[in-house]
């Protein structure tokens, strides 16, 4: 198991945003994390990346207890992420932005020009190589999202967390991005994706975890989850007259 969550909880002022979640993720798989608004998806993401420690429970990565490891140290260990609200460094070139991942990630290269050389391939992978020397601020949204992904990949992650990578993309961009995510998985990188676009996640994920009101209410393959009654209730709401 690459990632192992054991009874992980996080409370904010008494409100349990994540309540005793346990799950395991095998290496080389795509895990889709879904759930209605306020389900705790982002909080769970932040617990895995180390934004804050859990109130209870333990997190194991690659066999090591990382429960109290700082976020940057988790990145060294091989956990990288993208953010929903992309924030590239606007005045730096596209290549320099990607190279940041190579400088501060796993197996880091501290020399700038060497880091740039090594990051170029991640720009090729996401389709941004032709724009490598442009300033990041000149990119459109979909390209800024690609850059976010290139920077995370440059950190040489074992586990890559994608936060709403598909949000705001048009349908053809969604398809391109889904294919890209699959090709990253095929390189052996394990992926956790949080998405509102449930159907897109179902198209590529090996395993789905459904959160509702902080609790893990279902876990299984996309086909199992699409037909799960408690998942349907969580999404459509319960009838007043049922």
């Amino acid at each position: 198991m690459l990632l192992n969550l054991e009874g992980v909880s996080k409370a904010f002022k008494g409100l349990k945003a994540v309540n005793s979640v346990s799950t395991r993720l095998e290496e080389g798989k795509i895990l889709g994390l879904i759930g209605p608004n306020g389900a705790g998806k982002t909080t769970l993401f932040n617990l895995i990346t180390g934004v804050y420690p859990p109130t209870e429970g333990k997190i194991f990565f690659d066999g090591k207890d990382i429960t109290s490891v700082a976020p940057h140290a988790r990145c060294w260990m091989g956990i990288a992420r993208t953010f929903q609200l992309v924030r590239p460094l606007p005045e730096l070139s596209v290549l320099d932005n990607a190279a940041i991942g190579r400088v501060y990630g796993r197996d880091p290269i501290r020399n700038r020009s060497k880091a740039e050389k090594a990051s170029y391939e991640t720009l090729e992978m996401v389709g941004l190589a032709a724009r490598a020397s442009e300033k990041a601020k000149s990119l459109t949204l979909v390209d800024r999202k690609r850059l976010e992904l290139a920077r995370a990949l440059a950190a040489k992650p074992k586990l890559l967390l994608l936060d709403e990578l598909l949000a705001g993309l048009n349908p053809s961009e969604v398809l391109t991005s889904m294919a890209l995510i699959q090709s990253i998985r095929d390189m052996g990188i394990t992926i956790i994706m949080v998405e509102h676009l449930v159907k897109a996640v179902f198209g590529i994920a090996d395993q789905i975890v459904v959160l509702s009101a902080g609790e893990l209410i279902a876990e299984g393959t996309p086909a199992e989850i699409a037909c799960n009654e408690s998942v349907i209730d969580a999404y459509l709401g319960r009838s007043l007259h049922a």
Partner: protein, 243 residues
């Protein structure tokens, strides 16, 4: 049903993200119409566009034959199109009474304020009891009532409710929905955005399904309750097609 609110082929974008694509819908006078759809579908954006809080790239919003899309938000309120925003957005440090009076800010509403206030207190006796209490010291359900009461003080012809059930317990939600039904019976036309699709469909005469910024279905509320398209909009087809 005579035309009342007519939204015709509107396109709305947040920066370079297009949120609504050629969305058209109508609300007839006296109807309760619900807009349902998964997170991020564009429901709130659509409501805010009607209220004049989001510019349109193209398309029109008409109330009878008045072009709302050409008016700033406060002029749209004067036309009787009033929104209860998601999360209520009350003036927390002000009293219940202050909040209600601010709802009647437009000239049209101010002239009949005393009468409207009586009607609001009839509908929500609790607000009359709590009139000197500060809004931010009330419970979530009470605050939602106050937000609806504040909107009613503007004498709406069309009342738009954005996620009125969000964050509230089941009993409070039932109460709020019952109030919506009562307001409608008293002649207020309702346009409702709801995450709780099933309850919204039970309440509404008609509904539209919004998915990724596009209307993907419409029908009578109780028809859609049994329509697979609703579940598909949220969770895809069950069983999922084999890859």
């Amino acid at each position: 049903m005579p035309d009342f609110l007519n939204v015709d082929a509107i396109n709305v974008a947040h920066g370079d993200i297009q949120a609504l694509w050629d969305v058209s819908l109508e609300v007839g006078q006296g109807e309760i119409v619900a807009l349902i759809g998964p997170n991020g579908a564009g429901k709130t954006t659509l409501m805010r566009a009607i209220a004049g809080l989001h510019p349109l790239k193209s398309g029109t919003v008409l109330l009878r034959d008045k072009a709302l899309h050409a008016l700033p938000a406060h002029r749209i309120v004067e036309q009787g199109v009033i929104m209860v925003p998601e999360g209520r957005r009350l003036f927390g440090g002000l009293t219940v009474m202050d909040n209600l009076e601010l709802g009647a800010y437009s000239k049209r509403a101010r002239e009949v304020r005393a009468n409207t206030l009586e009607l609001v207190f009839e509908l929500f006796p609790l607000l009359a009891e709590r009139r000197t209490q500060r809004a931010n010291t009330m419970s979530g359900g009470q605050q939602q009532m106050l937000a609806v009461g504040r909107a009613l003080m503007g004498v709406p012809k069309l009342l738009m409710l954005d996620e009125p059930s969000l964050g509230l317990g089941p009993l409070v939600v039932e109460n709020i929905f019952e109030t919506v039904r009562q307001m409608n019976q008293q002649g207020v036309t309702i346009f409702l955005v709801e995450q709780n699709a099933r309850q919204a469909l039970e309440l509404a005469h008609r509904a539209y399904i919004l998915e990724q910024g596009r209307i993907v279905g419409t029908g009578l509320g109780d028809e859609l309750l049994r329509d697979d398209r609703v579940q598909q909009a949220y969770l895809g087809i069950c069983p999922a097609p084999e890859e």
